[in-house]
Symmetry: C2
Subunit: 406 residues, 2 copies
């Protein structure tokens, strides 16, 4: 008989755990990196492969509405991030989508030359911004400041403020409403990366008046490894901006095969090439699980899990130092602890079925996906972590060899 | 008992047909648009979904070498197009890859301002070129001429000649060796789109000294709907060019999470975001079928099928006019015929199980994938086409209603 933590009895998301394929003996605290497979997804993907592709073949573009799949998937994601129908599309990777929205943002502020971001942004966003700046060769500057300095750096030179809402290392949350308003007060465009937000915390893009957003399909949305990303354009800008990647799927009439590009109106103008149907179908199917869920319930449970995790670790693992904000309102759905030998400890944890991950130089990350984690999982995970630390069982060569992907 | 065309008896690729899931009652002449599902692919995709993602979860990046999948898939494609290992990567869409290679090409010829292409190029290539030109705002001109005029337009203003080798409408083949040499003689960079070439005709990128190439994973390579595309950079340029889309997968050390971008050496520098593992796995698996095949055999059978098709159509369907070059050496693996009511005829054909497609204003396209078509299929398909034309059974309202995707 397994024990059950008292908080699990009042958990109104408890039944959702059964919808996921959780490997035997694993407590998965890495849903912020790659979400767990929903049980119904293999069947749905198999149907797309064997029936839609295999049997309908080219006819499936019409008979199975493949053409609209990026928009249909986008609308499902939109519901989770406060975006109205027709403002979100699922396509390409987050990195490619950063390129599109940053280019669009800069086109709205041609006189300004500063792209403002912070050192807590996920590096690919900064890389893409640097690449775009170099490509444009118009004298833009990419200003990367500490997260707490962003507000003070908003001035009349800033064209676009581009931030990831939830810091990938510490889980620290930017105040989207506040910073967006201050960006607008300074005349800047606000771009939000929701990679660690979508499906994890409450987001209200429309309410916050965010101008653009991008995010990831394979973390809390459980779309599968390398799932298509998403992209949001505020209704205020939809008819004023264009994509720098002018592929045929963003054309007004792709099957007219005109020689000249005319962007289609609406969010589809941000699509580029032929949609990745297999990957999109997996993401679209995975989103079924969110259909009857309120993001407020997810957020409440996320906080409950995270608070329990911090309390348990601080009580049982004094060797570790909290790297995340202590206040739950300032944290996303992850908690990080610092430890000099964090890499080896994480490998030892994984070897015992508790899967989190590690970010250099010393950050052990633990993500809490409320749809498939229980409070008892948290208690059990910390018991194993405490045992590893107390016994020093992490101190073995096999736990110290760095893998290619960490 | 089904009859068998005499040419099928000497067909050394005949056994390959059994490797594909061909729907009952269908003769599929649209492999140039979406290739047929190989029978082993559903099992392989299911394994990736259920075992790799479902059970290994985040650990699969190392245990199943997900990280290298774009390169491993690229090498398999490289073998089919005369590209050495380490020069091809599978990633993103063809459109996105056009953007990367054209940007790289222009960076090699900064003093020149002309992008030369032709009206037979697939429109998305032209759209992307126009978008890049506008984005750069450096006074580039996109010059689109008739296919037969390309050679004459090569002068010392041309930075890049960007052509699709096989015309998507007529199947007309550009002479890659000859045009690449002439482009180089004029000091221009040569970019080849192999969307309708890879897996269909013999291509020798290295021998032709092509500078860059891109192409499609879902046509003759049978990677599945919206499969990742591919991208080739000549070994001569690999260490001289960079991608304008500087995502973390192109970084020298993506998991160091540095704030500054430093491109990795080699073809991986052309990758951008997290690889689409489900879609890439399907493409990688589909390429198994080519492992023991010689492209010369595929080309020989393609010509045999195409020649038979033209002979049969011209003998039995005098209403149609050949839109493709008559000489097989000037044609890819498709044949097109013009007919004013071609759209309705194609719908009538599809209703009877012969699947080709239609390109406005009047082109009926028929693609010949030698791995899963027999000569008897060709004879049977033309018999149905002749019947539809002779009886006028295409002349019904339901065949004239244009579908969203044609």
């Amino acid at each position: 008989m397994t024990s059950q933590h008292p908080s699990d009895q009042n958990d109104n998301l408890r039944h959702k755990k059964d919808a996921f394929h959780l490997p035997e003996g694993v407590i998965y605290l890495d849903g912020n990196s790659l979400g767990v497979l929903p049980k119904h997804v293999p069947g749905r993907v198999a149907d797309v492969v064997t029936e839609q592709w295999g049997t309908s073949l080219i006819r499936a573009w019409n008979s199975h509405s493949w053409f609209d799949l990026p928009l249909r998937t986008g609308d499902r994601i939109g519901r989770l991030i406060g975006a109205p129908n027709g403002t979100v599309v699922a396509c390409d990777s987050t990195s490619v989508n950063v390129f599109k929205v940053l280019s669009a943002a800069l086109s709205l502020r041609p006189e300004r030359k500063v792209i403002l971001s912070d050192s807590g942004n996920f590096p690919t966003d900064l890389y893409v911004a640097a690449g775009l700046k170099d490509l444009l060769a118009k004298g833009h500057e990419l200003k990367i400041v500490a997260p707490e300095e962003v507000e003070a750096m908003l001035d009349d030179q800033v064209a676009a403020m581009m931030l990831t809402q939830v810091d990938y290392r510490t889980g620290r949350v930017h105040d989207m409403n506040d910073l967006t308003r201050k960006a607008h007060d300074a005349g800047a465009i606000a771009i939000w990366d929701l990679a660690h937000s979508a499906g994890a915390i409450e987001v209200d893009l429309l309410g916050a008046k965010a101008d653009f957003a991008i995010g990831c399909g394979y973390k809390y949305l459980n779309g599968g490894p390398g799932a298509p990303a998403f992209l949001y354009v505020s209704p205020d800008h939809l008819d004023k901006v264009s994509s720098p990647l002018t592929g045929w799927m963003g054309h007004e009439a792709p099957f007219a095969f005109d020689l000249d590009y005319r962007p289609v109106s609406g969010i589809a103008c941000m699509t580029v090439g032929t949609p990745a149907i297999l990957a999109l179908s997996s993401l679209h199917a995975a989103l079924d699980i969110f259909e009857d869920v309120d993001m407020a319930d997810i957020r409440a449970k996320s906080i409950s899990l995270s608070e329990l995790f911090i309390a348990e670790v601080e009580a049982r693992c004094p060797q570790l130092t909290l790297a995340s904000p202590r206040s739950p309102s300032e944290r996303g759905s992850q908690v990080s602890f610092r430890f000099g030998e964090g890499y080896a400890v994480m490998q030892a944890l994984i070897a015992r079925g508790v899967i989190g991950d590690f970010r250099a130089p010393d950050v052990m990350r633990f993500g809490f996906a409320p749809l498939y984690l229980s409070h008892q999982d948290i208690v059990d995970a910390v018991a194993i972590l405490a045992d590893i630390l107390d016994t020093g069982s992490w101190d073995r060569p096999e736990f110290k060899t760095r893998a290619k992907v960490t």
